[in-house]
């Protein structure tokens, strides 16, 4: 029985009051905004970026979200980074994604864990310093506390393995979409150790760097809200034949919600030849 799905179903139809109350933005306004953007002005971002999310998640541990930029990156005007936050997750910081003019377009898509009905926010920072925010409300429950993933051992066995998937037609000089699949359980941490004698620390991907012919196109800091076996979609501009390279480092932390006691883990690399 898949409880996360059932809970979504029950909550939506039997507890509308709860759903309504969850639409409050107190946590963001009173705590998170300060934490991430103290002293900065956040402008309405609808002309800069769009955030696509399902209204209701089929699987709260695997919620597909996408940020789409409204314009191509140029040296004069480009999105420098995009920050993703899920207000009511136990650890609201989802990830920070850095782009350059070489990225082509500052789109980013991934799957995330949503722990309870909450706003998901994307904040874009321009090269000129302005911050723009968009948000969407997602109905999901239990993503972070839900079971790790259907086949934990399979994910562990190929841990570190990465796959690149590109647009079939690679157009010289035009932004081309790439998909990066990383095999990693990205676990949030485990309880129940007193009963079953199992304890596992949070073990997740912390840093990802993608370059094309050694030029950075995507640099990211991520955390436990990224789903197991992450799948990122982003753009790059192949102006010549070359090599896409992805590198990631993982970490393990004692607590699912505090980053005070963490140990840097291993680094993994994967390359992919591109010939437009």
């Amino acid at each position: 029985m898949k409880l996360q799905k059932l809970l979504c179903f029950v909550l939506v139809f039997l507890l509308p009051a709860m759903a309504y109350a969850a639409k409050d933005e107190n946590l963001w306004n009173q705590v998170l905004k300060q934490q991430f953007f103290a002293g900065k002005q956040l402008l309405k971002g609808d002309d800069i970026i769009q955030l696509s999310t399902p209204v209701r998640a089929e699987d709260p541990a695997l919620v597909p979200i996408k940020v789409t930029a409204s314009f191509l990156q140029t040296k004069e005007k480009y999105i420098k980074r995009i920050l993703l936050v899920i207000d009511k997750n136990p650890f609201p910081f989802v990830g920070e994604f850095e782009f350059t003019p070489d990225s082509g377009k500052a789109d980013i898509a991934m799957r995330v864990r949503v722990n309870t009905y909450s706003y998901i926010r994307a904040i874009a920072e321009m090269n000129t310093g302005e911050h723009y925010m968009v948000k969407k409300f997602v109905k999901a429950s239990g993503g972070c506390s839900a079971p790790i993933g259907a086949d934990y051992d399979a994910a562990m066995a190929r841990l570190g393995k990465m796959k690149f998937r590109l647009d079939k037609k690679i157009q010289d000089g035009k932004p081309t979409m790439a998909q990066l699949l990383i095999s990693h359980p990205n676990i949030t941490g485990m309880q129940m150790d007193q009963v079953t004698r199992f304890k596992r620390r949070a073990h997740f991907i912390q840093q990802i760097k993608v370059t094309f012919n050694d030029k950075p196109i995507l640099t990211a800091k991520t955390d436990i809200a990224i789903s197991s076996d992450p799948n990122f979609r982003f753009y790059f501009v192949p102006t010549e034949a070359g090599e896409l390279k992805a590198e990631f480092t993982d970490t393990s932390c004692e607590s699912p919600v505090s980053r005070d006691v963490c140990e840097t883990g291993k680094s993994y690399t994967q390359t992919y030849r591109v010939a437009p």
Partner: protein, 303 residues
Amino acid sequence: MRYLFLLLFVITSNAAIAAFSIKQVAQGIYVHQGPIELPDVRNHDAIANIGFIVGKKCVAVIDSGGNPAQGRLLKSTIQKITATPICYVINTHVHPDHIFGNSAFKDIANIKFIGHAKLSRAMAARGAFYIARSMEQIAVNLTEKDIIPPSISVKDFLKLDLGGRILELKAYPTAHTDNDLTVFDKKTNTLWMSDLLFVGHLPVLDGSLKGWLNVIAELEKQSFDVVIPGHGPIDRDWPKSVQAEKHYLQKLATNVRAKIKQGKYLEDVLQDDDSIFKAQWQLFNEFHKKNLSSAFAELEWED
């Protein structure tokens, strides 16, 4: 004389039968068939097929139910039917409708809980989540005390002698979950397949689609007189009852594989028309999209 005894038995156990339906499906094998419903505040997650097998020396419980009260009901039903002691509680996998009756059996002298070698870990990973949800979802206050991990772990195979009756327990590679166990009774050629077989109720994928198809292929080749699913009616014409499940899972695999090859993304697949999968399944709308999601995440790793 025998018939008088039988009559008396029927009268005295009538109360138990009325409160908790139990049926002998083969000699000494008793099954309570759960309703095909979502867990809710009315059924308290008492929705799975659970039961027991009686030997000369021991009774083995196979799945204890979705809440402690159901476990107690199962225990008292067993004790009304036979004086043979309950020696084993076998959990076929970690899902809550199969394990949360365990606490009703823990005070039995020398009781042993048995499960797949990965069951303890699965209980550790999911336990807190199941407990946190329980009041809201099924109106039962589950606590840590209701999580009882196995003391006997089955890695591949285990033979259990109930006294003139050998049960063969088999642990599978990831299929419905990553901790599936079946129980085979040689005496009656019965396979207690549990959630590796869904009849009527849409199969729920919480392990590996490919793994599950492999297990079905393997078991299809064998012949059993009686097969007991985790949800739905008993099959006496194996492998008839597994065909619907097999076709659903195969269709899932073919369909999702094709979409991945076409370059479709997860969010696209979740929005596609899926009426071709529906067939006669119950609870289709509640579980199919989640199955699609799981299948996609598994198959996108294929080369």
